[in-house]
């Protein structure tokens, strides 16, 4: 059977691809589209390394069919920095050493951005539960949580 044609928008750019019905969004991002910043850690929605936004909502791209992207706005880590300028979360993660091996980092950043969009002033507990879908095995989460809270504080200050 012929592949399915999908028209979508990825990181603000209109884009088309062909895919099998069974292909996951993650397969297509990492494969034909070459957007390997989105990582696969489990393929079962349990690690969050493949987190993306779909029409602004946080999802695991491994749990979404690529055909479902038709007409949607997909956001991946490659679109988080604006041109050469890092998102405040990206910058803070660097400054506060909130990454070690870095494989979970794209997913954590996408999740954290989504969290702060909904809740610009989260408590530590809210950050911890907000990021519970993103496994990190290196950092023990300490510096990640601190970096997210610190970014939130700076973004609130900047928005004043």
């Amino acid at each position: 059977m012929a592949k399915i044609h999908v028209s979508t928008t990825i990181n603000g750019e209109p884009l088309e691809y062909l895919c099998d019905a069974s292909a996951s969004m993650l397969d297509i991002l990492r494969g034909p589209l070459g957007l390997t910043g989105t990582k696969e850690g489990c393929g079962t929605g349990d690690c969050g390394a493949c987190s993306v936004t779909v029409d602004g909502r946080l999802m695991c791209s491994c749990l979404m069919l690529a055909v479902e992207a038709e007409g949607k706005q997909i956001g991946t880590i490659e679109g988080m920095a604006q041109g050469g300028e890092l998102h405040p979360l990206q910058q803070k993660f660097l400054e506060m050493a909130a990454l070690q091996c870095g494989i979970c980092t794209p997913g954590v950043l996408i999740s954290a951005r989504s969290l702060l969009e909904k809740n610009p002033d989260p408590t530590e507990e809210e950050v911890r539960f907000g990021l519970a879908g993103n496994l990190c095995r290196c950092t023990g989460y300490d510096k990640i949580v601190r970096a997210v809270m610190e970014t939130a504080a700076e973004m609130r200050e900047a928005a004043r």
Partner: protein, 289 residues
Amino acid sequence: MTEIRYLAPGSLDEAVKAFAAASGAASILAGGTDLLVQMRAGVRQPGTIIDIKKIPALTAIEELGGGAFRIGAAVPGAVLAEHPTFGKAWPGVLEAINLIGSKQVQGRASPGGNLCNGSPAGDSVPAMVAAGAVVTIQGPNGGRELPVEAVPAGPGRLNLTPGEIVVSFTFPDRPKGSSDAYLRMIPRTEMDIAVVGLAVNLSMDGGVVTAARVGLGAVAPTVLLVGDAAAALVGSRLEDAALEKAADACRAACNPINDKRGTIAYRTKVAGVLLKRVAAIAAQRAGGN
């Protein structure tokens, strides 16, 4: 290798026709948080995937007045959480739906999918059972309604006939002094499947329970409506004796298995513990209503 077809019908009729025509070789796609995992593991190999999210009735949230709601079976938990009033009327149902997986999963997972996955451990199911929610089903031979607890037939099995699709859940009127709550036992704080899940829905008047329903999950082949536990609560002021009797009823209703997520002894014990905790939360909420 078999090719898979993908359909995204815009109407319920089309969906039902396609589902019936596939005679068992199709899978319904709502949030896909179970389906994609099962496909990847080779447990499910559908010939056709029918995406129901383009059907208005499946994604609508309708406020029917008096605390009653109808919600589409494919409404994701995160969308329901953003509804201005649903969570006020049915906080237990909402918290249960939003315990299905991570924030990422909540962006996709729906109560309809949770029910139709057929797992006795689905978080939303005990809460909907306790709520007395009614399922609207559409099939090749027309529509029908079933109480939520009548839908599961066993692990992975449903009392649906070929071609039938779960369309929506209707939650009844909410009398004054009513509320609900759901708790589950998981080893971690997040990201686990319920070892036991329990929901209590109460109506209270002057501190006395006037109506109660108790839904209990992950302790039997299907989610249970524990009538004896409810009966023990009705007429009580949730005194220790009444709670102990209701907890006894929950333990007695358990028919669990030993598996990787819990033992028979542990699950049975926890069912009683949760009954008391959940009833207290529901009562506090009902008192506040």
